[in-house]
């Protein structure tokens, strides 16, 4: 059996189960969204308030240090804009990884009691993250306009970029989430790694602020071209970083099928360990 046929086979039977449950998946995403409003006053808005308040804090503390070095943009709030663009990319990635990480453990009770296509769980999680980030994006757009910056036509690349960052997050998160069922240390280690990754990615700083010698290392960070592309299309009116993104597409093409493969292999044993 050829490799591509193997992939087709794996995705086919797994995703077929999900197709029958499409209505259920959609209504679950909606329920999860509505449930947030059920018990807290501003409900789902917290998903927007958190990252934006973080942006505000960084902006207040670091703007004087960094804003001078932001090129090509005539806006006195340039640094805040830059921060928000990077934050949108980061939130999309880290939120889906974090969710997938504990997805099966959190739903252990349900998985033990009901038989349903397990693939629904990551699909519901992805959908919920997508809704959150769409909201965050809308909020960011409002802030952009309030600060006197209207993104250029390049912002139309954004849906593609979000797709890419979420696919990467889903692939990585699913692999970690499955292994976390058996090796719970994963759940403790990943947040630490994510924290490190956040600071190793130019979100609150720019690569230009760093000494020349460190800059080459960023090639190794898969999020670097992504975050840069977000910043390019939203703030600088430039096209995405195509060169770096090609490598990322390749990484997604490997990670996502690998994640599905592990997921399928593990689902026979997962409930035993929950």
């Amino acid at each position: 059996m050829g490799f591509s046929r193997l992939i087709q086979h794996l995705m086919g039977t797994t995703l077929f189960g999900a197709w029958r449950y499409k209505q259920f998946i959609v209504s679950s995403i909606r329920n999860e969204f509505l449930a947030r409003f059920a018990r807290s006053k501003v409900g789902g808005l917290w998903m927007v308030i958190h990252p934006l308040s973080q942006v505000l804090i960084f902006a207040l503390i670091l703007s004087e240090v960094i804003s001078a070095r932001l090129p090509d943009i005539e806006n006195k709030h340039a640094y805040a804009l830059y921060l928000m663009a990077g934050m949108l990319a980061w939130m999309s990635f880290s939120e889906i990884v974090t969710r997938c990480l504990t997805l099966f453990i959190d739903n252990g009770n349900l998985m033990k009691k009901m038989a349903f296509p397990r693939i629904c769980l990551p699909l519901i999680a992805s959908g919920a993250v997508l809704v959150n980030n769409t909201l965050l994006f809308a909020a960011i757009l409002v802030v952009f306009v309030a600060l006197g910056h209207v993104p250029s036509i390049m912002a139309l690349w954004l849906p593609l970029l979000i797709m890419l960052v979420m696919s990467l997050g889903l692939g990585v998160g699913l692999i970690l989430g499955v292994i976390n069922v058996f090796i719970r240390d994963i759940g403790q280690v990943v947040p630490v790694i994510l924290q490190a990754l956040f600071w190793l990615t130019p979100i609150v700083y720019t690569v230009r602020t760093l000494p020349e010698t460190y800059r080459d290392w960023f090639v190794l960070n898969p999020l670097y071209p992504l975050v840069t592309s977000f910043q390019n299309v939203l703030v600088f009116g430039q096209p995405p970083e195509w060169g770096g993104l090609m490598g990322l597409v390749l990484a997604v093409a490997v990670t996502l099928p690998l994640a599905l493969f592990i997921f399928r292999k593990a689902s026979a044993e997962m409930v035993d360990s929950l």
């Binding site: 449950y21 209505q23 259920f24 679950s28 033990k112 629904c120």
Partner: protein, 435 residues
């Protein structure tokens, strides 16, 4: 045997332990990693279930009952063998359906029905019916965290049975419901059975299984110990549960005809499936019924008082032994059971070698029919009863109509007295109230 709705073939489930969990991860990639330990909780189980059949599953804790149901439901995958299912399975495993405590009963019902694969139109159609069946009033729209376990079970059962499944699996769930709701559940189950649903039912309530199920499966240490008619399997399970491995184990005691045979005694009426067991310290040597005239009988006229008699020979020490007897129907439903802790009797000190005769004098309220008798000697210890000797279905007797019965249906004659009189509208009620 035809294919049936459900076929389980050589089913087995093992929990695997690896030296390191990473070895488990490697094993997914086809690397030849040997698990350090394989713990089989279920092995070599095969049976088939026909449409409309109710199967009870009995066995001690840890015998593999729940695992078997999980494998059939599909929440766990078998390590060996296979499960073939025609149609949809609906299951209530371990008291629930994995409800989300923050969601309301209604939302959980919708969510669970969605997980079962139903679309919005289907769910909208039955949601009010689920609400009505669960019958928990305002609570249906309150978060599940405010529910009692009985209320959760009500919503779970109502949801699981909102659509008639081809196979219904109930694991202990009904135990937490109150009697009225249990009755409602059984009614629904019974109507499903008539429509061709198969039921797999796990319960520690043996009488309930005998009543509801036609066949039963007895699991012991993960193996199929026996399968067959519910009554026989349940009896052998009870024997396993209460009987020690003593002298009477497996011993088939032939029924000794009573000495004073009489016209009321039918020699053809012999129990053929007597089970006898105990730890060997006592032996029940003779069991017979006597009518009011002191004659040995096994055919009684209804409404005629009678006594249950047996002799017990003690061969070992016993501390305040309790003597018991029970009358059951052919289906194994207990009609009346009693023992010497409940009725007045004389305390007797036991010496090895002693022979006692026990007599229970009973009023007859039995409807005409055929009945089975159990009797036993046991000690009640703090960790449960220990049978010195027990004989199950040791004797069959028949109650014949005497012509004065009031019973139209059922097992007992409650001796109804009917009163009927004409009512002059309104006036009658008023005058009754005044009086």
């Amino acid at each position: 045997m035809s294919a049936g709705l459900l076929r389980v073939e050589n089913l087995g489930k093992a929990y695997r332990c690896y030296g390191s969990e990473w070895q488990r991860v490697f094993s997914w990639f086809g690397l030849p990693v040997k698990p350090q330990e394989e713990h089989w909780v279920l092995r070599h189980v095969s049976f088939a279930v026909q449409p409309g059949e109710a199967i009870g599953i009995v066995g001690q804790n840890g015998a593999g009952k729940s695992t078997l149901l999980k494998l059939i439901t599909g929440t766990q995958r078998p390590t060996a063998g296979s499960v073939h299912i025609t149609g949809r399975v609906s299951a209530i495993l371990e008291l629930g359906m994995g409800f989300n405590a923050e969601f309301t009963g209604r939302q959980n019902a919708q969510f669970s029905a969605g997980l079962m694969g139903f679309n919005h139109a289907d769910i909208d159609r039955v949601i009010s019916e689920i609400e009505a069946f669960a019958d928990i009033g305002e609570y249906f729209d309150q978060p599940v965290r405010t529910y009692s376990s009985g209320m959760q079970m009500r919503v779970a059962f109502a949801t699981a049975t909102a659509f008639r499944p081809e196979i219904l699996i109930v694991d202990e769930a009904l135990a937490v419901g109150d009697a009225a709701f249990q009755r409602k559940c059984f009614q629904r189950i019974e109507s499903f059975l008539i429509d061709g649903t198969s039921l797999l039912y796990v319960s520690h309530d043996i009488e309930g299984i005998k009543k509801l199920c036609s066949r039963a499966v007895f699991l012991k240490h993960g193996r199929l110990e026996s399968i067959g008619a519910a009554k026989e399997v349940c009896d052998s399970y009870e024997k396993h549960l209460f009987g020690g491995g003593g002298a009477h184990d497996q011993q088939k005691v032939h029924h000794s005809p009573a000495p004073k045979a009489h016209g009321f005694f039918d020699p053809g009426l012999v129990a053929e499936c007597e089970l006898s067991y105990g730890d060997g310290r006592a032996a029940i040597e003779r069991v017979w019924l006597e009518n009011a005239d002191g004659l040995v009988v096994n055919v009684l006229s209804s409404l005629e008082p009678f006594s249950v008699n047996y002799c017990v020979r003690f061969s070992g020490p016993a501390v305040s032994p309790i003597f018991a007897t029970m009358i059951k129907t052919r289906e194994g439903i207990a009609i009346y059971g009693t023992d010497t802790t409940r009725v007045e009797s004389y305390p007797i000190e036991i010496h090895p070698g002693m022979v006692l005769q026990v007599r229970f004098v009973l009023k007859s309220v039995l409807a005409p029919g055929t009945y089975y008798l159990n009797c036993g000697v046991r000690e009640d210890r703090h960790d449960g009863p220990v049978f010195l000797h027990r004989k199950v279905d040791t004797l069959i007797f028949r109650v014949t109509a005497a012509g004065r019965e009031t019973v139209g249906a059922g097992l007992v004659d409650m001796k109804a007295v009917a009163q009927i009189w004409p009512v002059a509208e309104e006036v009658q009620i008023a005058s009754k109230a005044c009086a």
